[in-house]
């Protein structure tokens, strides 16, 4: 039915089967859209946020998708600036994942603000001293970069590519991609960092506050570093899931191993910096303000030391070691374990730096505040996941996303 749109030589499932899958995920998407409309029309009283939890599930989701979406800028940097050519076989997919993550982040922000129609004030009336302003500008601009990086792939669709103008445009954009990728890396450095800065500058919140370099607290650099480290894990994870769903090998092992190795070294260096940061904060920064480390991890029913151990050791040190070691990296199951742990680790870090920050009491007579999100918050957080699945399904079906797909599956066909 849609055979004319499917990339040449690629095998895809039947159109009705494809549409059935889309319809199932689409139902979840509609549920999220319904919750989103409730929030827009009835207001944020639809959530379980309160005056203690001004930032909650959405801001976590925002930070988490941007962190895992960091695979796009980092892979782009490696491919176009550092000229690691093998990565051309995964860069399209990394860009698509990044595009999904960043568009989701912008959508979540649009739901999260109390007066969505005034959202443009953050640009128009910008306070250049606010980390959130830096986030908004760099995030929007970087989304533009991702769109620019995504366009050539769209234009390579079999039918679109027949239009001469589109064919030439895609070709020319490929030619200038290094400039766009460099701009993207520059913007990503600042918005990933300023998301870390959002927490680090809160000098009224001893759990979050950090010393730093010039105007940037250490969390600025830790966030950029962790996004570059764990972002590729997410790219690899989604690639693995796509391979499982389609039942095809889509990227050659040497490419996967290379990206996993780079990610492993980034994770290891990041986690060393994170451990040093944690020790310095726990022994110098917080005590200097009158707080023992135990204040932040005891006297409540949820936030214990387990969260620190899980984030730093189980989901930081372990995946790092698994990925730098050749034997474990090239072992299929252990690599999968490492990238899953890595993705959990970075998401947990973002949770801690948003939710635990506001949960901890600061005034001595104040109490811990815990929170459970409402279904509207959960639905609107799942909404981008459903949207992401649909976009990946559509792009995989109609665009030449994986340059090695044909070769990998032809040889398989020949063997059998």
């Amino acid at each position: 039915m849609d055979a004319a749109l499917i990339p040449e030589g690629a095998k895809r499932c039947s159109f009705p089967k494809f549409m059935l899958g889309i319809a199932i995920v689409g139902a979840v998407l509609l549920w999220g859209v319904y919750a989103m409309l409730l929030c827009w029309f009835k207001g944020l009283n639809q959530t379980n946020m309160n005056d203690y939890y001004g930032f909650a599930l959405w801001i976590w989701a925002d930070l988490a998708v941007i962190a895992v979406g960091g695979g796009a800028f980092f892979t782009g940097l490696l491919k176009y600036i550092l000229k690691i050519d093998e990565l051309k076989n995964i860069i399209n997919f990394a860009v698509i994942i990044g595009f999904i993550c960043y568009s989701s982040a912008l959508l979540i922000l649009a739901i999260d603000i109390g007066q969505p129609l005034r959202g443009w004030f953050i640009f128009w009336h910008a306070n250049v001293h606010s980390m959130l302003t830096e986030v908004a500008f760099c995030l929007s601009l970087y989304f533009a970069v991702l769109t620019i990086e995504f366009i050539p792939n769209i234009l390579e669709n079999r039918q679109l590519n027949k239009v001469p103008f589109f064919h030439h445009l895609a070709h020319n954009m490929h030619g200038t991609m290094a400039i766009f990728a460099a701009t993207g890396a520059f913007l990503s450095f600042f918005h990933q960092g300023s998301l870390g800065g959002v927490a680090g500058v809160l000098y009224g919140r001893p759990f979050a506050v950090r010393e730093g370099l010039l105007i940037w607290p250490w969390t600025f650099f830790l966030f950029t570093w962790s996004a570059a480290a764990f972002g590729p894990c997410f790219t690899l994870l989604v690639t693995r899931i796509t391979e499982a769903v389609t039942g095809k090998k889509l990227v050659k092992d040497n490419v996967v191993h290379l990206l996993a190795k780079i990610s492993g070294w980034m994770i290891c260096t990041y986690i060393i910096a994170k451990i040093i940061d944690t020790i310095y904060w726990a022994t110098v920064t917080a005590p200097g303000l009158g707080f023992e480390m135990s204040h932040f991890y005891t006297n409540n029913s949820f936030y214990g030391y387990w969260i620190l151990v899980t984030e730093v050791i189980i989901c930081g040190v372990i995946p790092g070691i698994l990925l730098i070691n050749k034997t474990t990296r090239e072992n299929h199951s252990l690599r999968l374990l490492a990238i899953i742990l890595g993705v959990i680790g970075v998401c947990l870090n973002r949770w801690v730096m948003v939710l635990q920050v506001v949960a901890v009491p600061v005034m001595p007579f104040d109490t811990w505040a815990l929170y459970i999100p409402s279904w509207q918050e959960v639905a609107t957080t799942i909404l981008p996941v459903a949207y992401g699945i649909i976009l990946i399904a559509v792009t995989y079906r109609y665009l030449p996303v994986f340059p090695q797909e044909r070769e990998l599956n032809q040889s398989k066909a020949q063997e059998s």
């Binding site: 640009f123 128009w124 009336h125 910008a126 306070n127 250049v128 001293h129 302003t133 830096e134 500008f137 601009l141 533009a144 970069v145 620019i148 001469p164 103008f165 589109f166 030439h168 445009l169 070709h171 020319n172 954009m173 030619g175 200038t176 400039i179 766009f180 701009t183 520059f186 913007l187 600042f190």
Partner: protein, 52 residues
Amino acid sequence: MFPFNFEWVWDIGHYLFFGGFWYAIGILGAGMTYCIAKAAYDTVKGSQDNHH
């Protein structure tokens, strides 16, 4: 965002922040303009070549 916004101040913060912003916008804008213009040129040139 613009110097005519009343909260605008000509200070180092604004120079750096908006300097970076307009620089990035400039690069992206110029890059895309180049790509589109060249694609249009290539298209026209290609169709002329086909006619000959």
